[in-house]
Structures are given as structure tokens and as C-alpha cells.
């Protein structure tokens, strides 16, 4: 999870760093399952890994291409 968090800030292509942030959210949802909290795991999987990635990609399409820093 930490390696993917560092990678989300180091990548140049913005689309790659958005996918890395979604991977961090997926790992956090698995951690919530191991900490025996089913409600929180379901919420983090539905909202964090699904809708956050979706609205980032929609905004990325509206501003530039997906190049540059």
C-alpha cells in the first residue's frame, strides 16, 4: 500500500497516478476487512475505489489531455 502511495505522486502521466490512488483505496478496503469491520469495508470499496476514480477521470478529460507533469 505504501509503495503504491509513493508511486501515485511520482508518476508523470496523470492517468497512471489516478489508478495508483485507486489501488491504495482497494488495499485500505482489504485492511478494513482484516480489522473485522464489514460496514466500513463496504463503504470504502463502493465510494473510495469506485466513485473517486470515476470523478477524477471525468475531470481529467475535461481539462487537458492526460499528458504533462
Amino acid at each position: 500500500m505504501l509503495i503504491s502511495g509513493i508511486a501515485a505522486l511520482v508518476f508523470d502521466n496523470l492517468l497512471n497516478s489516478i489508478i495508483a490512488a485507486g489501488f491504495v483505496s482497494l488495499m485500505a478496503s482489504a485492511l478494513f476487512y482484516f480489522l473485522k469491520a464489514p460496514d466500513v469495508a463496504m463503504t470504502e470499496a463502493a465510494i473510495g475505489a469506485g466513485l473517486t476514480t470515476a470523478i477524477f477521470v471525468i475531470t481529467l478529460r475535461k481539462t487537458e489531455g492526460s499528458e504533462k507533469e
Binding site: 460496514d39 463502493a46 469506485g50 466513485l51 478529460r61
Partner: protein
């Protein structure tokens, strides 16, 4: 590397060192300090009162499918904390979500002609036929999650997010899909008004805002736990409508 990056790294190391000092305090008597991992003493916290369902009265035993007319009556303890014991915080959270959705619609308001250049290619055939089957099933699954919020893990927020995902799929499959915005607004307004209306009705009949004024049946059946299913119904519909309107406003410029 630049000078600003090195300065930021030094600041973060100092901050991390200061945070880690908070985990090293040795306890004096009567103080609650941060425990080691896995050794939380639940008896000293207020969570023990919520687990025993004995904040006001004094219940001894809580047994699944047998206890009748308890204080809170729902089998999911996290649900009873959110919607019964601390429902004022849930009201504040619903307000914050409403403000964010309204603010987003106000920022993105424009008078020019809206043209949608979001999706360039036509969607493939698999996606179109798949969405026709999946869309009512997803809405059914989301409604099931927030109706059974007091028996299984789930609740209003999760069901609302699943419903918003169903509408996102519909936007992806069809380039010219237009959402009926006024119907969405009517659903959201009615759900919000009913949540506050339940609280005011309880204020006038029982004396405290958002008290539990229906009967709580046996723990574990569908029609138990008093007012909690009604609260979760309005929260689920409101959150689903708001997240859908956020996505719809972002797609159409």
C-alpha cells in the same frame, strides 16, 4: 533536488517524530491513553454501554431472536450507534453532503450552450446489452442493502453509492442519455424533509429530538428496531440522489 523539496522532507520527519511520541505515554491512574495495538479495553469506554444497550435503562441479557422491547432493538450495533444513539451527527453529515452537491451545481453553472464532448467513441455492443440487464438489478441490490440495514452489514450510505454507480453505467453506455433532473430533485427534497419531520414529530410527542417512538419488536426480524428502518430509507434515497446529481453535473460540462 530543489531546496524546497528538502525543506519539506525535513519538516515531515519532525512531524512524524512528534506524532510517534504520543504513543509512548505511560498511563497514570484514571487516564485514558492510546493503547497498544489489539489491547483496547472496552469496559472503560462508552462502547460498553452501547453493546449492552443500557444507556438509559439497565438490561442484562441481549439474545438474538428472543429479547423483546429493548432500548434499541437492532441486531447491527454500528447501525444502532449511527441512527439511534448519535443521530444528530448523521443529520450534520447529510447537511454537509447537501451543501457540497448544491455548491457544485452553482459553481458549474453556465449560460452558454452545453455541448458534450466527453465520450468520443461509440460504446461497444457488449456494454450496451449488458447495461440493459444490469441497471434494474443494481438498483434492486442497492435498495436491498439499505432496507436491511439493521440486520446485515450495510445501511444508507452503501446503498446510495450502489445506486449512483448504476446511473454512472447508464451514462457510459449511451452518449446521448439525458437525466430527468426535476424528478431527482423531488426525490431528494422529500427524503430530506421526511428525515427532519420524523425528528420534529418525536420532539412533540416524546420530548426529545429524534427519539424512538415506535415499538421495537424482537431482535432480528424485519419489522423491528422502531424508527431506524425509516431513517435509513430516507438517508439511502437522499445520498443516492445527491451522488447521481454530482456525476450528472460533472459530465455535462
Amino acid at each position: 533536488m530543489k531546496f524546497r523539496n528538502i525543506l519539506a522532507l525535513i519538516l515531515i520527519f519532525i512531524l512524524g517524530f512528534i506524532i510517534l511520541q504520543a504513543f509512548n505515554i505511560s498511563p497514570e491512574e484514571g487516564q485514558l491513553v492510546i493503547n497498544k495495538f489489539g489491547e483496547a479495553e472496552i469496559e472503560n469506554r462508552t462502547a460498553q454501554l452501547y453493546i449492552n444497550k443500557s444507556v438509559n435503562s439497565n438490561n442484562e441479557k441481549v439474545v438474538f431472536a428472543e429479547s423483546n422491547n429493548l432500548e434499541s432493538g437492532s441486531a447491527n450495533i454500528v447501525t444502532s450507534v449511527i441512527a439511534n444513539y448519535r443521530s444528530l451527527d448523521t443529520l450534520g453529515e447529510v447537511t454537509v453532503l447537501f451543501l457540497a452537491a448544491t455548491g457544485l451545481a452553482a459553481v458549474l453553472y453556465t449560460n452558454k450552450k452545453k455541448k458534450r464532448n466527453f465520450i468520443v467513441d461509440e460504446a461497444s455492443l457488449i456494454l450496451k446489452t449488458g447495461v440493459k440487464i444490469l441497471f434494474p438489478l443494481l438498483i434492486l441490490a442497492g435498495a436491498y442493502i439499505f432496507i436491511h440495514g439493521h440486520l446485515t452489514p450495510g445501511g444508507g450510505f452503501q446503498g446510495g453509492a450502489v445506486i449512483a454507480t448504476a446511473f454512472l453505467l447508464k451514462f457510459l453506455a449511451d452518449r446521448e442519455y439525458k437525466l430527468a433532473e426535476h424528478k431527482l430533485k423531488i426525490v431528494e427534497v422529500l427524503a430530506g424533509v421526511s428525515f427532519v419531520g420524523l425528528g420534529l414529530y418525536a420532539l412533540f410527542t416524546e420530548g426529545s429530538f429524534l427519539a424512538n417512538f415506535l415499538q421495537t419488536g424482537t431482535v432480528g426480524t424485519l419489522f423491528s428496531a422502531g424508527i431506524i428502518p425509516l431513517i435509513y430509507l430516507s438517508i439511502g434515497l437522499k445520498v443516492g440522489a445527491e451522488l447521481t446529481s454530482i456525476i450528472s453535473n460533472l459530465i455535462e460540462v
